[in-house]
């Protein structure tokens, strides 16, 4: 039993230490997307926390969703979320992913995100600063994986 406990602990710790990110734009204005990229650039360098931006959802642990979910992207959001192997986590980056504002009332917006897939952490801001995005990733990962 004790050995199994330590295996679980190693698993949880390694998951917290290496969150691989997949970035999904669902109608964002690019502001948040660029800030996500900036958080991996030298100034903020999220890789020192183990964050790597990967290209395939199969490799990822955390999805960063930006943008209010548009009608065209709704099936894709669900599909990409399903493609991630368990255990997975989801961070809604930016105000429009969290609540749809300022696009509330538009006929083609299906958001906000929390009615579609479970969200582990919201990062508010239009766009949030890279520090906040990094904190959002860390918060979501700690909440979901430990």
């Amino acid at each position: 039993m004790r050995q199994e406990g330590s295996a679980v602990r190693i698993g949880a710790r390694s998951r917290i230490k290496s969150p691989w990110l997949f970035h999904l734009n669902t109608g964002s204005c690019n502001g948040c997307d660029i800030e996500i990229v900036a958080s991996l650039a030298p100034r903020y360098d999220a890789e020192r926390l183990g964050c790597v931006l990967v290209g395939s959802p199969r490799h990822a642990d955390v999805i960063l969703v930006t943008g209010p979910v548009t009608r065209q992207m709704l099936p894709r959001v669900i599909r990409v979320y399903e493609q991630l192997p368990e255990p997975k986590s989801l961070v809604a980056v930016g105000t429009c992913a969290a609540s749809g504002a300022p696009f509330i009332g538009s006929g083609v917006i299906e958001g906000p995100l929390d009615g579609i897939i479970p969200v582990d952490a919201y990062v508010l801001g239009c766009p949030p600063r890279p520090e906040a995005i990094v904190r959002g990733i860390v918060t979501a990962v700690r909440r979901r994986f430990s």
């Binding site: 190693i10 698993g11 710790r13 390694s14 998951r15 230490k17 290496s18 691989w20 030298p42 360098d45 890789e47 020192r48 926390l49 183990g50 990967v54 290209g55 395939s56 199969r58 490799h59 642990d61 493609q83 991630l84 192997p85 368990e86 255990p87």
Partner: protein, 316 residues
Amino acid sequence: MAALAALLASLPAAVFLSLLFEGIDRKLHARMQGRIGPPVTQPFYDFAKLLNKESVFPSSSSKAIFASAPVIAAASSILAGAIPLASLVAGTSVVGDLILILYLLTMSSIMVMIGGSSSGNPYGAIGFSRKMVMLIGYEVPLLASILPLSLKSQHSFSYHGIVQSQVGMGTCFAFAYPSSAFAAAAFLACIPAAAGVVPFDVPEAKTEIVHGYLVEYGGPHLALARLAKDAASFALSFLALTLFFYHPPLFEGHASLGGLASAILCVAFAPAMMFLTVTVPRTVFARLKVGQAFKFCWSLPLTLSALSVVLSAAGF
């Protein structure tokens, strides 16, 4: 018996060193970009995490091949890394094991490639055809650059025989003869292509074909496929160091401890070799197109290795 024990002990050592070397490589890569970079232990976390994840099989894949390919790839890569370690420690080796090592390295990349293309993903298919071209590109100069060493060390294709003949000469092969100097240059120029790092990572170009043959892998299979790649680059840089730069005054003369001490010293120097052949190219070059990469492999390394073969046949 001692040789078998050394080999068994070398297997976990090779896994550990491969991951450690990837950590060193990533740290230096980040520092050369002006970043702090991940901790050196990062690959261990990545590996442990991927092992603990769910494995997903695409419905269009042939499951048996898809699942077994990374296992075989990782096993052959690790074996390729463990054999040189073991024969240094034990001080013996089998005839022709150098050929086996190079064969295992090729085997590992072929297996990952087959696994990727069995996923049914078009990116995997493109990755397959690109990897095929790259294999033809680098295998020939890589093998040809071994020939002069064999000629200079009593026609032996045994790894330990080549290493020991450097001890007998009192100098390393890269400085001993002009032919082996050219061979060393050819071997070093092939390492980035064989390890599949940036200027030559066309089969798994992230921005073009979404990691190519790795696109459908996730969880434990991805961990093994990545380990196969890490072990291959560890094995290649270790081979390059010991085959061409095994400098007796540095590595021998630890008679009390024997082979173990020289093996440990070699491992300590190997990161420098990897920095030169893996980290620097992937930092200062842009990714080549598959045609350009092939052209490169068949121009510089092939010329160098052909030259070295001709020179060694002529007795230089």
